[in-house]
Structures are given as structure tokens and as C-alpha cells.
Amino acid sequence: MTETTGKTGVSRRTLLKGTAGLAGLAAGSGAITGFPYVKSAETKVLRYLGTAVNEGDDISKQCLKDTGIKIEYITATTDDVTKRVMTQPNSFDVLDTEYFSLKKIVPSGNILALDAKKIKEFDNITPVFTKGETPGGKKIGGQGTAPWKVLYLEGKDSKKFATSATEFVTLIPTVYNADTLGIRPDLIKRPIDSWSELLNPEFKGKASILNIPSIGIMDAAMVVEATGKYKYADKGNMTKEEIDLTMKVMTEAKKAGQFRAFWKDFNESVNLMASGETVIQSMWSPAVTKVRSMGIACTFQPLREGYRSWASGFCVSKGVSGAKLDWAYEFVNWFLSGYAGAYLNRQGYYSAVLSTAKAQMEPYEWAYWMEGKPAEKDIKAPDGSLLEKAGSVRDGGSYEERMGAVACWNAVMDENDYMVRKWNEFIAA
């Protein structure tokens, strides 16, 4: 009795194995057998690792409709995205990350540069990325990890950034913006025009910066430079002495009770501002929009020293090849083809290919978001909720004005290790 059962079990298992093997062969794969492959051959699935910035449900739905590619979002914070690339490079296919993290990611060899020739709209990508200037010809500040410094690699498997254009692109640009301080004009009641106001004792206990060292230190540097205490050669690549000086200024302010709190994520920054805990703080554009959509006055204040900018783009994991790599190209091409760009523009970000996004936006939307003109009609968010009433003008004005006034970019410094230690000291002070 026992014997018979055993035999049946074995033969059934063998049968299953055989079937799976056959199915795998049938699907045209010699090396990989089993169900996962068969399944993925039916629906095109890409695992998309990134921060929440680009990851709209509408984008993935539209993508599935247009290309048949199913996007599975893996959402993490900027730091965690980098960590995941380093430690689990096989856990994602497409990577959406910021240019400043390339200084860590590229040497690790865990990502694959994309071929510029396979990107249809590559030549239409805004010169912000390729030349460091606006379409109107304004030179953009290049302090920090500016995208054009790390856009190309010397060769396919190279770990060196090329100084001139090659066909091997580290990240295909997707989205970027110019960040500045957010303020509550209803509580401040006077014009603000300099980063130095962040440390103005008038706002004691009502200011905030973000507690992400690599970004926070850039904001701190903008403040220090604005107060006239010091002029950096490159805010994005400080010497140890410069880091000491910057942190000293910030530590003194912290000890004097200047800061109400530091924030770490989007929602924290919204809550601080909306509840009136802070009236001036470093902020991200959509966070300002969110506060405003709650009916609370909040301005993304342009400042005379300029903006701190950031940019992100796509690459793929080293492990991606064959059909999956083709889908990745198909997806990136789709992303630049207009729908996603328009979607991002409507949130106050900027899309990398302006022409395709423009084609997908209403003329009045384009005029408001990109040309800095007063809104002809009510401005709505991608989800249809009201953002701005007709007649309002975008903070900071047009694309040319905002991107043209960028002073520095988010960065990873050579002295990053020292900076992180000093940041811990600052928090402990």
C-alpha cells in the first residue's frame, strides 16, 4: 500500500516537471524553465523601483493601455532606492532615480546604461540636461551633481563618466524641478526674497529644513552664502573646512531654537506648514501645492540667490536582458512620448521632453505652468481637483525664469562620509 502511493507520487511529480519543462521550451527558452517565464511571456511586466514622484496610478494605467506593459511599482525613499540598487540589484527591472545618486550607483556596476540611439525623443530632450542651459539659452548654475556632468558613460560597461556626449546614457531624463523655500505669506505678512531669512530670528521656533543630509546641507549652504558669511567654490562639493563652517552656522541657529522641527518626508513637510508649526521652511513644489489645496496660503517663494535643483531619470538593472530589455526601452520611449510628461507638468514638475508634453496639454495649462502667464481658466490637478483659480500666476514664473535661476543641484560630495558624521553631530547638538 505504502509502496504504491510512493510510486504514484513520484511519477506525478516527474510528470509535472516534464510539463513545466516542455512549457518552458515551447516558450522558446532553453535556459529558463518553469512557470514564471511562461507567465511573463504572456503579459509584459516591469518592476519599477523609484520614489513616489513619478509613480502615478494614472501613468501605469495609461502605459498598460498604450503598450501592454504592466508596471509594478516598488516605492521607496531616495535613500532606500539607492540602498536597494546596491544590495538587491535583481529585485527590480527599471530604476527611476536621481542624478546625484549616480556617483554611488555607477561605480557599483549594478545598472545598465541605456543606448541613446534607441530613445526616439533623445534629441528632443531639453538642453537643461545635455548642455546645462535653458531652451532660451540661459546658462544654468552647475554647482553640485548637475545632470550634464554625469549623463554619459565612456563605454557600455564603463564606470567612468564621459566629458562629452556618447551613446551610453546613465539615466534617460524624465523629471526635474527647481526647489526653494516655502512660506506662509498670511503669517509672515512681508515680502521674503532671500535664503538668509530662514535663519532670521524673527522666525524663531517657526523654521524648518529637511533632515536628509545630502539635500539639507545644500539648503544650509544656500542660507550661509545668502547671509554673506562665506562664498563656496562649489556648494555641492565642500571641503572639510567648509562643511565645518556650514554646520557651525546651522548648529548655532538650532541651539538658539530657530527650528521647530526637521522633516523627513513629503507629508511631514505638508503637516508642519499647514498646521502653522512652521512659517518658513525648505520644501518641494507638490508639497506647497498640497498645502494650498487645503485652502491654506502657501508660496513657493522665488529667492534672489536662486534655486536648488534636482533631476531624475530611468536606467535598468544589470540583470535585465533579452525581451525584458526591449520592453524597458518601449516603456522609456512611451514615458517620453507625452502623456506622462503632461501629467508631471500638471503637478508642477517639469518633463524632460517639452514638445511631446505640450501636445498633450491644453494651451491654457501650458501657458500657466510653463510660460508663467495668468491662468485663463481654473487650473486642475491630474486627478481633477482644483489647484488654482483663474487669474493666478505660478510662483517663480515661467520655465525659463525658474530653471534659468538654478544655482546648484542636489549632490553627493567627495567628503560625503565626513558630512554625514557632521550632520549627526548637528542633530545631537
Binding site: 554611488k104 550607483i105 522633516w263 523627513k264 503637516n271 498646521s275 502653522g276 554625514v420 545631537a428
Partner: protein, 319 residues
């Protein structure tokens, strides 16, 4: 002859009960110590695989070197020397790590004292004043209700209450007790301690309650008969007998608070240093060996505190 053999014999008369059979069966029987090992085995394996081995890795990695993007498996004390940077040079001022641990220990001490005080009396009430078992069970379950939502939500719920324009401040302003909103209610050590006490008092209640219900009621009666006052009974009978519970509860609370950085971060407005926060910042900067070194230091200090506590009470003996 015991009954079981008789019954067996009655049930199957063919079965021969002989000394031979018994002897033959004996060697196959497992020795008691082997059985104990077998019983403890699964837990031991889990402990080994998911605690000891990872811990050994952490210690090893803490002595490695690193650069911006990878671990360099060469011996280096950099994780440690960097951590204690300036500790001698800056004297008499405290270095970063010194300040951080001083702050963490202070918060830990405050939270421990308050949770112990509240936890002890809640447990006391449940064990001695609630007579029926059903009510005891019911009320202890009531204590667990806050655990039905996540840590983060219980923590964040305090923010609208304590903020500058929050419920407490606007209430106080309306009653005319204050003219200006009280700022130290939120993003301060006060709010951190409040949230931690709120989160972790229950970990104190359960073990103390557990020790207290096991106290023989006749001991208390004896104390009463011998003329002890309520206070004397408490100090000389109940507290000594509840000690194991107190120590276990204290271990729970202290280990959690020492390693906490989320509550301290959110309620302290990210402005208060915590030992766990240093580890997180280092991890986020991909400086794994430095993070590991800090983890080893935290572990050593926590272990030291626990050892001191178990010196006061031998938990194994008392259980």
C-alpha cells in the same frame, strides 16, 4: 502490578508480557536529556539562524572598511574611531556619540520610571482589587486595545493634540490660563517621553500583573494578621515577590527605548539625537560598517544595563 498492564492483558490475551520484551524495548527509548535537546532544538535553531549568525556578521562587518558604494572586506577600526571622533580632543565638552547616548539614556530613564510607576499600579489594581477572574481578563484585554492600531498612528495622533494650534493649546487659551501657545508641548523631550510612555506602559503591566497574580494570597493575609500596615505589606511582601515581573517589564521597555528612533524622530521633530538615529543615518548613506559599529556599541551598552538589572534579581531563579 499496575492496572495498565492488566488492562492490556485483558484486551489482548495473546500479548505476552515478559521481561524479555521490556528489555528489548529499553535501548530504543530516548534519554531524557536528548529529549530536552530535541524540544529546545527548533527554538535554538531559529535563534541561531536569525539572531546569532546575523549578529556575528554585524560584528565582522563593523570591522570592515568601506567607500561610497561598497564594503571593503579588510580589517579596519574606522567604524569605531570615526564614531568616537573628538571624544578626547573636545574634552570637557561631550563628543557627538557622548551627547547622543547621554540624551538616549536620559529619555530611557524617564520613560522607564514613568512606565514602571503607572504599570505597577495598573497591575496592582488588576491583581488585587479586581476580584473576579473574568473582570481581570476583561480589563487586561482592555489594556491591549491601543495595540489594535499601528505604533505610528498612535504616535502621530498626538501631533494635532499638542501642536501650536492644537487642541490642548487652544483649550488652555480659551480658559485664559495662557496667552501664548505653549511651545514645549510638541517637538520636545516632553512629547517624546509622553509618546513613549503611551506606547510602552503595557509592556510593563503584563509581566508585573503576571507576577502579582501568582503571589499566594495567604501571604498577604499573614502579613495583615501579623499587624503589618498596607504600606509595609506592599514594600515587604508584594514588591519583592513582583520583582521578576518588574525586571522583565523593565528589560522590555529599556531595550525598546534604547533602540528607538522613529518615535524620537517624529515626536522630537527630528531635532533630538538618538542612538538608533545615528545607525539609520549611516545606513542611508550606505556606510554599513560604520552603522554596524554603532549597532555593536548600542548592543554593548544595552547589554550592560540588562546585566546590571539581572544582578538585582535572578530572573531564572524567580520564575
Amino acid at each position: 502490578m499496575d492496572t495498565s498492564e492488566t488492562i492490556l492483558q485483558q484486551a489482548s490475551p495473546d500479548l505476552v508480557l515478559g521481561s524479555d520484551t521490556t528489555r528489548a524495548a529499553k535501548p530504543a527509548r530516548l534519554s531524557p536529556s536528548f529529549i530536552s535537546w530535541l524540544q529546545a532544538g527548533p527554538m535554538m535553531l531559529v535563534f541561531l539562524a536569525f539572531f546569532l549568525i546575523p549578529l556575528v556578521f554585524v560584528v565582522i562587518v563593523s570591522f570592515w572598511d568601506y567607500n561610497e558604494y561598497q564594503l571593503l572586506p579588510a580589517f579596519s577600526g574606522r567604524g569605531y574611531t570615526d564614531t568616537f571622533e573628538g571624544c578626547i580632543a573636545q574634552l570637557p565638552d561631550l563628543c557627538t556619540i557622548g551627547k547622543t547616548y547621554l540624551k538616549t539614556l536620559k529619555l530611557c530613564f524617564l520613560v522607564w520610571t514613568i512606565t514602571l510607576f503607572i504599570g505597577f499600579w495598573v497591575a496592582y489594581f488588576l491583581a488585587f482589587h479586581v476580584k473576579s477572574k473574568t473582570w481581570q481578563m476583561g480589563l487586561s484585554l482592555l489594556c491591549t486595545i491601543p495595540f489594535w492600531t499601528s505604533n505610528v498612528i498612535r504616535m502621530i495622533a498626538w501631533i494635532p493634540l499638542l501642536g501650536r494650534n492644537g487642541l490642548v493649546n487652544s483649550g488652555l487659551m480659551k480658559t485664559g490660563l495662557i496667552n501664548q501657545p505653549v511651545e514645549w508641548l510638541l517637538f520636545s523631550e516632553f512629547s517624546v517621553v509622553l509618546a513613549l510612555v503611551h506606547l510602552f506602559t503595557f509592556f510593563m503591566v503584563v509581566p508585573i500583573f503576571n507576577s502579582m497574580v501568582r503571589i499566594d494570597k495567604s501571604l498577604i493575609e499573614a502579613a495583615y494578621d501579623a499587624g503589618a500596615t498596607g504600606f509595609q505589606t506592599l514594600v515587604n511582601v508584594i514588591i519583592p515577590l513582583a520583582k521578576p515581573g518588574i525586571v522583565i517589564g523593565s528589560i522590555f521597555v529599556i531595550t525598546i527605548v534604547m533602540g528607538d528612533f522613529i518615535t524620537i524622530g517624529v515626536m522630537g521633530g527630528q531635532q533630538i539625537a538618538a542612538a538608533g538615529k545615528i545607525i539609520e543615518t549611516r545606513l542611508n548613506a550606505l556606510q554599513f560598517p560604520a552603522a554596524a559599529a554603532n549597532a555593536v556599541i548600542l548592543l554593548a551598552i544595552t547589554f550592560l544595563i540588562i546585566t546590571m538589572m539581572s544582578r538585582i534579581v535572578d530572573i531564572r531563579k524567580e520564575l
